[in-house]
Amino acid sequence: MNQKKYWKSEVELDADNGFVTDLQHKEFVEKLPEDAFLGDQKVMDDSKTNRRDFLKYVGFSTAAASLAACEGPVYKSIPYVVQPEEIRPGISNYYASAIADGFDFANVLIKTREGRPIKVENNNEAPTNGHANARVQASVLSMYDNLRLRGPQYGGSPVSWSTLIEQTKEQLSALKDADAEVVLLTHSFASPTTEKLIADFLGQFPNVRHVVYDALSDAEALDAFEIAYGSRVLPTYDFAKAEVIVSVGADFLGDWQGGGHSAGYAKGRIPNKHHGKASMSKHYQFESNMTLSGASADVRVPSTPATQKQVLAAIYGALFGKFDTSALSKKVAAQVNTAIKQLKRAGKNAVVVTGLPSVDAQRIALAINELLKSRVIDTQHTTTIRQGNPSEVAQLVDDLNSGAVQGIITAGINPAYSLPNADSFSAAISKAKFSLAFGMKNDETASLAQWVAATPHYLEAWGDVAFKSGHYGLTQPTIRPLFDTLQFQDVLLAWSGSETTYHDALQSHWKSNILNGASWSKAVHDGFFVGQSPVANTYKDNPADAYNTLAGAQDKGFSLLLYSKTGLGDGQQANNPWLQELPDPISRVTWDNYLTVSKSDAEALGLWNETQSDGALNGGLAKVTVGNTSVTAPVLIQPGQAKGTVGLAVGYGKTAGIKSEMQVGVNAYPLYKNLSSVQSVQIEAVDGVHEFACTQLHNTLMGRGDIVKETTLEIFNTKDRSYWNPVPVVSKNHIETPVTSPEVDIWDAFDRSIGHHFNLSIDLNACTGCGACVVSCHAENNVPVVGKREIRKSRDMHWLRIDRYYSAEDTFEGDLETVDQINGLGDSLTTFGEMEAPSENPQVTFQPIMCQHCNHAPCETVCPVAATSHGRQGQNHMAYNRCVGTRYCANNCPYKVRRFNWFLYSNNDEFDYHMNDDLGRMVLNPDVVVRSRGVMEKCSMCIQKTQKTILDAKLEGRQIQDGEFQTACSSACPTGAIVFGDINDKDSKVAQSKESDRMYHLLESVGTKPNVQYQVKVRNTETT
């Protein structure tokens, strides 16, 4: 008999191994989680349904379902009784409006269909703030929030508006008669009419004090400007004019001072050649957290807040004649020296900005710009979109607790959540004799107030805003209020005993104070109005004392930098699933906030991150302590985080007025002491594991040059295209032939010279990773939200993602050199192994990736049912009704842009996001089908939009002009990084960009011939 012993693993040879004996007896060593899917044993035993019954039910329901499927349902169509003139079914109407929610301020266009708003678009005609960021893009969904207040309440039960107004007025009058102080606590309105109404109200009730509270404060910048120029406002900036930008801790591409700077910035960042030489602005960034601005910067220096202060002092000193960089480390000093040199050279075309929460730092920055005579900063057109006064807010909480203030009215804010001393505030508001909260949600503050006044969403309301002096925006309702709501301003008017509505008050205020004879109707139509030029502000500060304080700044232990995320901002839209699912541009984490730590600090503190075998990310927990307040947050090791600093985003951890799915993250506001974004903290590791839902891990490009192509301005200007943007070659008959040549193509090219041929061009130089395109794509194409659990399984549905890549060396150039120097197999293995980890201070690029619409598409050839096919206009079509869900196409796609519907995401309680209720479904675009379970979907290049443009031209019998063709992403892009158009129209922008030297295709060597082009990223490394 054969005595040979076969073994599967050498472990089996070890007879003592208990594992082996276990395996012999059962297939699975570990206990299978049967309970998880079979449920409670007791329930199973008690059940009266046996196997036969079960089969009967299954049989019956299958038969019933198939019979029911044969009989078509009866659809009812209910026309209007009297159809409004402007509504034609199937045709979109656009209304200009403006958002001003206290955090985001923008001029927008609202697209409505059959009377309901479905999308926010940029208002490209507006001279200021005409761009909607990701949050503003998503704001339309917040209107259809199922948890909004349905009407006014008293003590938690519904009351009528007349009761609320009468009784609160009586209470206010009683308090007035008793001479008891009442505080009106609001966010910054920056609304001329509202401010007038508040002034009138205060005139009638002299016992009321108005306190402005911004959840995220810019008080130091306001105070500094007041010292320097005399009024407590903020200057405005036009980065398009900048040749040299030095940012010291200011994320000006993010939410710094209200945001909205990226469009101007991008204008100076595109290196177009004039007379053979291109120029672009140079951007230095000294910062602690890795921000959008740091990612776009030419030179990014990770530095602690104290170092940043010293950098500011050094720059000021150098301009003032006291050159001293001795306090700085060598590396930082070197960069500061070149920055100073370039600042001096650029003079009035340079600007220094800072985001440090220090009046001294802000004063020095203003002083530097004054010395430079900077044209970038505008101290005449100032803005009031941030007015918050933290000391008054702190005083208010004390006064409420002591009983000095007996009544409180809040409007548009949620201090019981967002104040650092929210507990103290909550205790105080309960003590108040009179409390009234204006808001859209039954949030933390509203649930404590006696009276709750339900306010409409901005899409249902009237309003105005002054973006900066002389530049106004108008908010107009685009739908009748969904619920029984009244605007704060209407209640103010009612209290004042006025019969007029806010709309009338607004109109009369504009006619008498703003329009100066111009047409009101035109202002409403445009959504904006540019009025008279303001008076000049004169500089009158002597910041010598500030210079001394900054020069002597020292770090005290770890510094925590609190920041607002691209998705949630200050957190008022936390119940918006689009924003929760929007990956953070830097960390690519969804549905969470986390403590960002540098790698070396993490090792020293015992903090960790771990990638699971399925690609999901886990992280340890850390306890962050400021004074006697602690918060335990998950840890994310962030390349580029300055040593000695940690970062944590606010806006998460809400618990009231928010669906349980959206109650994610930790509330960082308790650490926001004195409303200052920099805190000195203690950090210790805590046991526990946190599961992240991260769409891209922190891996690097590993020197692969065919995904992101980068070069420097010097090379771009001096070398030939073939050096910095070579077309890959393949060998045919021992001749190196470019892959673009038909010689090496196994496909016959289709003639696309007739009709339209759509191309999408993405300029990596202009993309700042802001994410507006991602949300816009969500809204336009009915992309479902899948939730944290599914994202963790890599089942995200984003048609458009913005990939973020780090370099392994300090620059991508360095990576390419490292790869070039690899010698032999052993070396390559070790070198590539090392290159997987990003550098401590990596370069970052963003790359928006959607379906590349390949002319020679790998997905099309593998589809067994021909559900995906090519159109003559360059689009790769996807017929959902034909798809049977084999997923071959996704496997064969080199760009990984195809998305599979693992579940039915609409009308499914398992996915309780906006598509699970009637209200949330109102945001769906009727021109795009909602996909069902089991089909593949992907970017269609917004074919519904191109078809609409073509049809409009046919109906009007005309040719199509360049710029008419748009996709959701191209129309949302604030920086013009995404350009869409017809390349058969030789004069179009996209046809020209196709001919540009910077143009390349993603993974060109594969030979897919995509219709999406990318423009090589150029970094300005010039030092003179």
């Binding site: 009784v81 034609r88 079509h877 021109d927 073509i950 049809l951 019998g957 040719q959």
Partner: protein
């Protein structure tokens, strides 16, 4: 007997009126008003707002000359606004009574014309009392019963015949038995029964199995292919709206009501205010009747009342009450969600007649789905139809290049890319 007498009433009545009219015209001469002229003048000028026996926008006009002085009527008809302004008591009263709606002035009418009109309004013959419906309803009742009776008799006779045959057979057998004649049953045929022979012939079995399979596949396929195809779907609508009367008899253009077909993807079901453009004046139906189906004038008029109820129109006082009840029409043409169809593209750009897809709507008393609306049906049309490129600048360049490429003068929708999946599915 009564039946016939009823039928006689109508012609005699008509005869009587014509006789009256004749007498009127011949005896009274040229000075006297002409009723026929009056009728045509009335229909041309007055009927939009006035009815003879019923209040409309304006008062009922039968016997109006008895209510008012003739001279007053002349000036009222020629310029009522001036009279109201002048403060004429009677004029102001009417103006107030009829919701202050201004009556059009008719300065072009001469006094004679007005006399003719008044003659017509005074001399309307009363409507014929009872229509001949009763006569038709009773006819044919006897035929039904007689045919069942005859059938019954036939069955009886047949049964009797069977019984008789059986009895004759029995008797003959008995006689044969009595005569000692043995009836020998024919010897059983040794041949195989047909079915056994068939079973043993494998070729035949094979052929018929193939045949069975093919035919069941054919019919099965046919059955499955019509699942979800609602051709001929003719639901009952909440208001019996006859496209035949509107688009057929009255020649109303489809796009008068379905106006958004010109600009939008939806053809649109007209809102009720569009109906009221005409029906504010048309309160009752006076067209042809189809008595067999019960579509009488009363039936149609009743449907118009349903419209009034839905739109909140108070017929008595000729004003909107504001109490509306939107009509829940049953949608007939349902495309699945995953298909994008645009009416404007087909109706306005391509200039296709509505009837091409919707069939002879102008003949449909009740609207039904005429075409199958399947993808094959769409594709066929796209393959066969030439694109109308004339006078549309959008097509100029693309048509020139494409016709050069294909070497043809006319291009079908398919050649223009009308068969691509993504053009309709997204």
């Amino acid at each position: 007997m009564t039946r016939f007498s009823y039928r006689n009433v109508v012609p005699s009545h008509i005869f009587l009126t014509t006789l009256l009219a004749l007498i009127f015209s011949s005896f009274v001469g040229a000075q006297e008003p002409d009723i026929q002229k009056g009728k045509s003048l009335f229909n041309a000028n007055c009927a939009a707002c006035h009815k003879l026996n019923k209040r409309a926008v304006g008062p009922a006009l039968a016997g109006v000359s008895e209510k008012y002085d003739k001279e007053w009527l002349y000036s009222w008809i020629k310029n009522s606004t001036a009279m109201v302004k002048a403060g004429d008591a009677q004029a102001v009263a009417i103006f107030e009574e009829y919701n202050k709606s201004v009556m059009t002035s008719f300065p072009q009418l001469s006094n004679e014309d007005i006399d003719n009109i008044l003659a017509y309004t005074d001399f309307t013959p009363p409507a014929p009392a009872v229509p001949a419906a009763v006569a038709t309803a009773t006819s044919g009742g006897g035929d039904d019963t007689s045919s069942t009776f005859i059938l019954g008799v036939l069955v009886l006779v047949l049964l009797m015949l069977i019984a008789m045959l059986y009895m004759v057979n029995n008797t003959l057998r008995k006689i044969a038995a009595a005569n000692g004649i043995e009836i020998v049953k024919a010897e059983k045929d040794k041949r195989l029964p047909l079915w056994k022979a068939y079973v043993q012939n494998s070729f035949l079995v094979f052929v018929s199995v193939i045949f069975l399979l093919l035919s069941s596949a054919y019919f099965g396929y046919g059955y499955l292919m019509q699942v979800g195809v609602d051709q001929g779907y003719m639901p009952v609508q909440p208001i019996h709206y006859s496209h035949k009367i509107h688009a057929g008899d009255n020649q109303i253009d489809c796009k008068y009501c379905h106006s958004s077909a010109r600009v939008s993807k939806h053809s649109g079901i007209p809102s009720l205010n569009v109906c009221m453009n005409c029906h504010v004046n048309i309160a009752e139906y006076n067209g042809e009747e189809d008595l067999e189906k019960g579509y009488t004038k009363e039936f149609y008029t009743n449907e118009i009342k349903k419209l009034y109820k839905a739109v909140g129109w108070d017929e008595e006082n000729q004003r909107y009450t504001g109490e509306t009840q939107p009509v829940k029409w049953v949608r007939i043409h349902n495309l699945p969600d995953f298909v994008y169809f645009n009416h404007a593209q087909h109706v306005e750009v391509a200039g296709i007649e509505c009837q091409k897809c919707h069939g002879p709507v102008e003949e449909m008393e009740i609207l039904y789905q005429h075409s199958s609306l399947t993808m094959g049906w769409c594709i066929n049309c796209h393959r066969e139809t030439n694109v109308d490129v004339a006078n549309n600048e959008y097509y100029t360049k693309i048509h020139e290049e494409l016709s050069k490429k294909y070497g043809v003068e006319k291009l079908t929708a398919a050649q223009m890319g009308g068969l691509e999946c993504g053009k309709c599915h997204y």
